[in-house]
Symmetry: C3
Subunit: 343 residues, 3 copies
């Protein structure tokens, strides 16, 4: 593909020869002479002089690259749009594989691909263009919108409702039983029937082996465009707003309310019955045990303001020294007092 055409396709301004031939995309350190790369974070501008890339996407305020360059308001997004121009995943076979089991009462939209051994239960209703890979199980009475993609071994449990353009990676479990047990007087536990559902709004993606539990009574709801990474746990009755990012191995205990545009980095934990405001950022391994105000950036377990946490961390290295200093001060003060007033 010619760089000039690529600039047009990605809606970028071209600096350099439009006839430059590009046949792929790659990271700044791996790119070869016929590949397009990018730098988005100014921290990595220093890597530009040593790249072997044939062309690069940067923002308009980047320094001169010395390479055929595409200028973009959002170089990361432009690069993201370039990837599928050079890569196409294996095609899927239209229709229903003869070994798939589709309940007679299930309704599938047109233009679907249902893989081998997939199972679709009673009363399921699904929109157009579904791609269901082998061994996926859709329990009875779920509702699923258009353009559904479910990778092998993903599961959607009974009665759940999924919007349009939902993507489930392999082994994702939507609507498993919430962890609800009522203690009896003897200390044993009575299983609470988990009668609620999970609702995934449009454009939600759920990572491999991630779990989103159904509510005990009522809903667990994931808002539009929220992305859930591998091995994340979302407890029963949680309500998440739109366009949140939950990175891998993060866990929400249950009945957690999360606003919009929140980022929870990896291995974050959130206790139950809390409210996390809009645009909160929690850095990796943060443990959140109380409400977090909108716009906060928090770290640590239990969480605190990230600036304080960083300062504490630096000071922590001086903790042994501090203890020594205090001991010395005690001694000096005692000596001074003694030498001056005899006690």
């Amino acid at each position: 593909m010619k760089l000039g055409d690529l600039a047009g396709e990605l809606n970028c301004e071209l600096r350099g020869p439009p006839e430059t031939e590009i046949d792929g995309v790659a990271g700044i350190e791996e790119a070869t002479a016929t590949q397009l790369t990018f730098v988005s974070n100014p921290k990595y501008y220093s890597k530009i002089p040593s790249t072997r890339a044939g062309a690069i996407v940067v923002s308009r305020d980047a320094p001169d690259t010395g390479l055929p360059t595409l200028l973009s308001d959002n170089p990361y997004l432009a690069f993201a749009r370039a990837i599928p121009l050079f890569y196409r995943p294996p095609s899927v076979t239209p229709g229903i594989h003869p070994t798939a089991i589709i309940a007679e009462t299930a309704q599938l939209g047109e233009n679907h691909s249902i893989g081998a051994h997939a199972v679709i239960g009673d009363g399921v209703r699904m929109g157009r263009n579904a791609v269901i890979y082998p061994n996926v199980v859709i329990y009875p009475h779920t509702r699923i919108g258009d353009d559904f993609v479910a990778h092998s071994n993903a599961v959607v449990r009974e009665h759940c409702r999924l919007g349009h353009r939902i993507i489930l990676q392999n082994g994702a479990v939507i609507g498993g039983d919430g962890f609800g047990f009522a203690p009896r007087a003897d200390g044993s536990y009575f299983k609470m029937v988990q009668s609620g559902v999970v609702i995934l709004e449009d454009d939600v993606e759920v990572g491999a082996n991630a779990c989103i539990d159904r509510g005990t009574v009522g809903q667990t709801r994931i808002g539009k465009g929220t992305k859930v990474d591998n091995l994340v746990q979302i407890g029963h009755g949680s309500t998440l707003g739109s366009h949140n990012i939950l990175a891998s191995q993060t866990g929400l205990a249950g009945t957690t309310t999360i606003g919009n545009h929140v980022t929870l980095a990896g291995q974050v934990g959130v206790a139950g019955h809390l409210k996390i405001g809009d645009r909160v950022v929690a850095t990796a391994q943060t443990g959140i045990g109380r409400d977090v105000a909108p716009g906060s950036v928090v770290s640590g377990s239990p969480e605190m303001d990230t600036t304080l946490w960083k300062r504490n961390y630096i000071l922590m290295h001086r903790f042994p020294e501090l203890v020594k200093t205090v001991k010395r001060l005690q001694k000096e003060l005692a000596e001074l007092r003694k030498s001056l007033i005899g006690r």
Copy 2:
């Protein structure tokens, strides 16, 4: 259902009109005029005046609710018992789906439902009333009691032994190989054959995508009534007592011994070869690196008494201030000494 009948069913004392019609259950904030709700934790009594519920379950010592009320010694348990009166999960089809593969040497008890594409291996023996959802795999030579429920993609590995009323959520893996490798002199690892088993005693439930590893030699044992949440890891050779709660993403390293009535909140980690006593509570993200005495409540990583941990956390916020104070003290002492004795 009439409230009077509901009171009888749940063994509650009724305060209010027995003919009140109830058609469902819901949380205190979501309940509507024909729904039953509950408050168990006195912390939430303040929510009662604003609920729109048609009736409420509370304990005998709760303040007057101003609503048709069911009084119970255990309102949470009473509410739990009410749920299935208004909700019934989709029924399962009795018998063996024609696409299930059952080894000739497997013995199934009566009244089973074996779903599509399920696989049951050689020599498996299973009790009555098993409900096995599609795509479950039971490896050879397992023994399973009555009333077994295995959701789609759950796996029970060879030779494991499961008691009565076991529930496996989707993707749970019982008896995967323990993580046992013997280092060779050159730093590479020799895989140890994992020849042990997992034993689940009666009434154990295992969450979605949770993993309980078989022993290297000998057993991994989960005691009666213990509940294991999603994405929990239980390492090889661990021994858990009865009626424990292991919340999501908790991990036990291996050869861990846990008593009875223990609660490990979410994302707790326990190192190997430790003993956790009866009734221990570890709060979320606790990292346990040594034995914990019965009845302890611990937090932090590494763990400490929760009271100390909370105090430390409050003090931690004053750490920068403390460092400044010590510096100032040093300076003041030096000045005082100088002004008094000239050095």
Copy 3:
């Protein structure tokens, strides 16, 4: 089996009667009179006098055991080699189960066992001796070496390349989509097509429900002999060297570079774009947020040298006392100053 023959088989020196009959192996506390046990860590020598084992493997510098004894340079490895002499997992059925779906363009090596409902996609090429358990899915165009073992519900995604002697435990996902999303100006996210692959070099084992994501562009690579435990997350574009140990629930964010012979204990987190040097050890729950030099031993979140971390932890218990001491010092100094110089 006679102990003399066992000594020969394990290449150990025998101290004791060669005709001792051994019919199994077990841990030091569980072993019975006809079983072989071992002690490797000198910490556990104290358990030897009370064992009921029939024989024991120890190192040459262990104290006298009072039992028929096998002396080994590596008693743990010798014990590991003894296990399969007394245990053989259920045999697998040679050939292809009639319900498995093998694409016409897939090429399987000789001597394979393909279980019920397994699915092998277009263009897959696989070596000799593959053992594929029921419900495994191999996506199109993967390349897999000899002696492959994939347990039920494991998945290998399109285009991934696996070396020889790879073992996948149940539910492991190799090559799921990386968590790559480019933010748009309105705060919503654009899904980046994940066009890269995962490469597993020879002798890699991946635990149950662990996830290794494909690169966005380029590779995620796991070096020879590296062992990945259950529920581990390896983010897209990470590069791991040889003979590393990643214990359960550890997570690597993405584009992480790890050397050789590294040990990450359970629940460790590593942020993106970092370099972890050879032979680094991170203790459980460590949170790594910057590069770690070869040979370091680190703990804490954020990580610090383990020696410092331990000292801090001990001092932490004295933090409340330290705060009190500083307050008292302030008061004493003020009083002293006042009594001496009147202010």
